[in-house]
């Protein structure tokens, strides 16, 4: 019996969506070292928290009043007793989240695993990522640009002081590495301006995956729709 699915290059829509045609890997750190003070002065400090060496994101965040429990406080149903770096690093007891999830075993036994400041310029790294995302999202209105961060992480106001926000938006102040990153990204894009892209920001590494052309995805979607409506 004739089955049109057997003649198609892709067996399902998710095959079309998930196909990766090219990958570009870029370490953003190299563009965020030795930044001029006129740029670093406009940036917000990193979020309050506990950082691990060579990690961009805090392993424990104290933003927005987030606090944690030592085992004793949690069992006794007391108020959270880990609310800043000092209380964390002095703790010789296991640490639990407000939901009761075990997070860490006695930080005071291995204090060199934790630090108060981020190893990198947290805000500059994120501003660089936002600039790259903006660049990709303006390639074409119909293409899909996926990211592995929440949309709230793309808000410049989280990383730039309010009085300088407009200057950054107007590009009167720009990220020192922006031109180089943009040149490398455009070199990767080449003629594929209609392709879908996925930007993955893993620690300090940016992984850009080039997917199928959005017209190819739409073509196959309509084809699968048509086949399904015909009962195949």
């Amino acid at each position: 019996m004739f089955n049109p699915h057997q003649t198609l290059e892709y067996k399902s829509l998710s095959d079309v969506i998930s196909e990766v045609r090219d990958v570009f890997i870029l370490d953003i750190t190299q563009y965020c070292y030795y930044l001029p003070t006129h740029f670093t002065d406009i940036l917000n400090p990193e979020p309050l928290g506990v950082y691990a060496p060579n990690r961009l994101k805090p392993v424990f965040s104290f933003e927005n009043g987030q606090a944690y429990y030592t085992a004793n406080a949690y069992k006794a149903r007391q108020a959270p007793d880990i609310w800043n770096f000092e209380t964390f690093i002095k703790s010789s007891s296991p640490i639990y989240s407000p939901q009761g999830k075990f997070l860490c075993q006695a930080p005071s036994l291995a204090p060199y695993f934790f630090q108060q400041k981020c190893s990198y310029n947290y805000a500059a790294m994120h501003v660089a990522f936002i600039l790259i995302y903006e660049m990709f999202s303006h390639l074409h209105s119909q293409t899909y640009i996926g990211i592995n961060l929440p949309m709230s992480a793309l808000r410049l106001e989280r990383y730039v002081k309010p009085e300088y926000l407009q200057a950054v938006l107007d590009e009167r102040i720009s990220h020192p590495g922006h031109a180089t990153i943009a040149a490398e990204a455009y070199n990767f894009i080449g003629r594929d301006r209609y392709s879908n892209y996925r930007l993955k920001f893993e620690n300090t590494t940016l992984i850009i995956e080039k997917g199928n052309d959005y017209r190819v995805v739409e073509y196959y979607r309509r084809l699968f729709d048509e086949l399904e409506s015909q009962g195949y």
Partner: protein, 161 residues
């Protein structure tokens, strides 16, 4: 107040030309909800091999998508991200398998685009008999009326419903 509300074109209303856009309209979206809900959809190709998306849509269904796309008007540059903002706000920490599953996220993006297209068409179809089709982008979500119809209010409406 009833004169300020017009209904779905499928309902038996007398189609008269209205000069001033009504403060509210009722649009029946049940067809769209039925078509894109994984459990009732006949478009099964959309939901093949995207289990995290099917699981997510049990709690964030087509009704939530419609509500989210009609939160902001088209003039607001943030409107294209409204669905994702709502979704992240509610489920960023609780549905991690969805966010890590590329096919699911991109399929949801396709579903959102299709739903937006059909919602636009439905609103336009409701307004066309009244010569108000140019106002289709001006109506924002107010509340659900029954199973699949929604009451939408004009963004400049001064009437308090």
């Amino acid at each position: 107040m009833l004169s300020n509300i017009i209904g779905d074109s499928s309902m038996s209303w007398n189609h008269k030309v209205i000069e001033k856009p009504p403060a509210a309209i009722i649009v029946d979206f049940s067809e769209i909800i039925y078509r894109y809900t994984p459990q009732t959809s006949f478009k099964s190709y959309l939901f093949n091999r995207v289990v995290p998306l099917v699981n997510l849509m049990r709690v964030f269904g087509v009704k939530d998508i419609i509500e989210s796309v009609l939160i902001l008007d088209y003039d607001n540059p943030e409107c294209r991200f409204a669905v994702w903002e709502v979704l992240e706000h509610k489920y960023w920490n609780t549905n991690m398998d969805f966010w890590d599953h590329t096919e699911s996220v991109e399929t949801l993006s396709i579903i959102v685009d299709l739903v937006v297209e059909e919602v636009d068409t439905h609103i336009r179809d409701t307004l066309t008999p009244h010569n108000l089709s140019s106002e289709y982008a001006s109506y924002l979500f107010h509340q659900w009326v029954g199973a699949g119809a929604a009451l939408l209010t004009h963004r400049y409406a001064e009437t308090t419903l």
